[in-house]
């Protein structure tokens, strides 16, 4: 048998991962003084997994899943989101964002598709944070490790959250976890999409599949293979370089804004406290 180091490194035990993540959600909410969670549910696999985990961790009555369709959102997406809601019995709220987004862009009718997509993501963020205040809850994040590394997300949009249980799982690992959690098959099997515009798929836009890129990412990031080793292993040099550059170029999205150091102790540089300080 041909050894498959990438496949082995991407293996997870979904039961073990699920039990850690449920405890994580419960603990992080409790230490901040909360019992409720709010999640933006798109009908895709990431938010479906997080909603399932939250329902298990907190009880479905303590979870609010908010659907926030835009006028171009597909009917299939809505149907998939509804399937998750029906299965879990969590609280639900539908807040279409068409009116507010379109009101803004009436002033900027020539805005690009990318601006519209980012605006939608940030509009949803403000809805979620407002609903978290109304529901006395924290916002759970749904960005996975593949997206976070590639920068395939909107800063202060879908990347914004208080607690992210799935940020250390690659997309292909989420498929495993989703199956174990009982996420409906249609959601697991459909091509991942941000539903940013009609017919958009992540893999079409990125130019590679998650299955391919996750194998590269896990060896590059987690197993610390060198470029020459990755190429010798069979990855195309151009693919390796492109992905490495995406990781570098988008690093700013994963950090707090950089602060110019002037004083003896600068926040996040030599003012070092754990986020969970005192709890």
């Amino acid at each position: 048998m041909k050894p498959d180091p990438a496949g082995a490194a991407l293996e997870i035990n979904p039961e073990l991962v699920g039990s850690i993540l449920c405890r994580f959600i419960r603990t992080e909410l409790q230490r901040a003084g909360f019992r409720h969670a709010v999640i933006g549910l798109s009908g895709g696999i990431d938010s479906s997994v997080v909603t399932c985990l939250a329902a298990r961790a907190l009880g479905p009555e303590n979870v609010l899943a908010v659907t926030m369709p835009y006028k171009t959102s597909s009917e299939a997406t809505r149907r998939d989101a509804q399937a998750v809601l029906d299965r879990l019995g969590v609280r639900t709220l539908d807040v279409p964002i068409t009116d507010s987004v379109d009101a803004y862009f009436r002033r900027f009718p020539d805005a690009s598709r990318m601006r519209l997509a980012n605006k939608c993501a940030r509009e949803r963020m403000t809805v979620l944070y407002d609903q978290s205040a109304a529901f006395d809850a924290l916002v759970l994040g749904t960005s996975n490790k593949s997206e976070l590394l590639l920068g395939y997300g909107t800063q202060f949009g879908d990347m914004a959250s208080a607690v992210n249980p799935v940020g250390d799982l690659y997309k292909t690992q989420l498929f495993r976890l989703a199956a174990w959690l009982g996420v409906p098959d249609e959601i697991i099997k459909k091509p991942p999409t941000g539903d940013l515009w009609t017919g958009q798929t992540d893999e079409g836009e990125l130019g590679f599949t998650y299955a391919e890129v996750d194998r590269l990412l896990v060896l590059m990031v987690d197993c610390r293979w060198r470029r020459s080793e990755l190429v010798a292993h069979g990855f195309e040099a151009k693919f390796v370089d492109r992905v490495a550059e995406m990781i570098r170029r988008n690093h700013y999205k994963r950090r707090m804004p950089v602060i110019a150091k002037l004083s003896p102790r600068t926040l996040d540089r030599d003012f070092r406290y754990a986020r969970d300080w005192g709890t």
């Binding site: 405890r23 603990t27 969970d276 300080w277």
Partner: protein, 302 residues
């Protein structure tokens, strides 16, 4: 045929080892950098352990402070004669105690330390020697490294060695403890989960294998107490355990959840295992020293 009676030898063994002992593993989730709440948590666990007639209660590494203390190190640090430690010893009464704390020396050095207290006094303090500073760990930034790995004699537990987490991963520490002829080796830990592909967390598998292997190779009882809970996304996995000198697991706490788990150890079992496999007896300490000196000359003096 019945074994020859040896009343004197038996008396000595009981004298030295105190016979059967009950060990309580207090697998807690400390509150990060909250002294009062952690003292209260310890006292509650100690009282529960005493209710279980425990002879020894063992808390994890940095049990009085939590792990990621970072810039809080000087704020949570205490001296050996601190009221917090007196409070724990009072609560413990006749029960012996292992607890973790940040120790401030008179020279304002801060150590990741663990104490062993018995009969109302501190018998020994171990200062963590190997401070991991790689990957997610950052300990050398905040702590001074301990300079000694030494065992100590106790009233009821024979000769005891105390190690803290990363110390346990260094073969030399275990070898020193073997040369020290320990009966009981206690490792307190704050081990986070890394590697979730198998049936068990990868770090948990490693600790289980080290505990059983060291117990067998040292002919000693090994107690590992790890914490649970989360800090900044890190999951401490618990799974505290006691390994007997034959390499078997004598008691095991649950994974991931808080628990007070009682294990029974029979120090007389040490005698039996040392008769079967007298590894410590056959150890060539002087040969080892000579070899280490030779290596020292090669690596540092040429």
């Amino acid at each position: 045929m019945a074994p020859t009676s040896d009343p004197e030898g038996e008396a000595l063994a009981v004298d030295r080892h105190g016979g059967v002992l009950r060990v309580a593993m207090a697998q807690i989730a400390p509150v990060l950098a909250h002294r009062e709440r952690n003292v209260a948590l310890h006292v509650a666990q100690i009282e529960a352990a005493r209710g279980e007639q425990a002879d020894l209660v063992v808390f994890p590494e940095l049990s009085l402070t939590g792990y990621f203390v970072r810039d809080m190190v000087p704020d949570v640090a205490i001296r050996r004669d601190a009221p917090e430690i007196r409070r724990l010893m009072q609560a413990a009464g006749p029960t012996a105690l292992v607890a973790g704390f940040v120790e401030e020396s008179p020279q304002q050095r801060f150590y990741n330390a663990a104490l062993f207290a018995e009969e109302g006094r501190i018998v020994h303090v171990h200062r963590k020697v190997y401070l991991p500073t790689y990957g997610l760990f950052d300990e050398q930034r905040y702590f001074a490294a301990g300079e000694r790995i030494e065992a100590f004699d106790t009233a009821r537990f024979g000769r005891v060695g105390l190690l803290i987490c990363e110390d346990f991963w260094h073969l030399s520490a275990a070898a020193i403890m073997q040369a020290e002829e320990v009966d009981l080796l206690v490792c307190v830990a704050n081990s986070p989960a890394r590697g979730v592909d198998g049936d068990k967390i990868r770090t948990a598998v490693a600790y289980d294998s080290m505990a059983r292997t060291f117990a067998q190779l040292l002919g000693a009882v090994v107690i590992v107490v790890n914490r649970v809970g989360f800090e900044d996304g890190l999951c401490f996995w618990g799974g505290s355990r006691i390994a007997g000198p034959d390499g078997s697991v004598l008691a095991e706490a649950p994974m991931l959840d808080e628990a007070l788990t009682i294990g029974t150890i029979d120090l007389a079992e040490l005698r039996r295992q040392r008769l079967i496999t007298p590894l410590a007896r056959d150890e060539r300490l002087l040969l080892t020293l000579e070899e280490l000196n030779r290596i020292k000359r090669r690596r540092y003096e040429t």
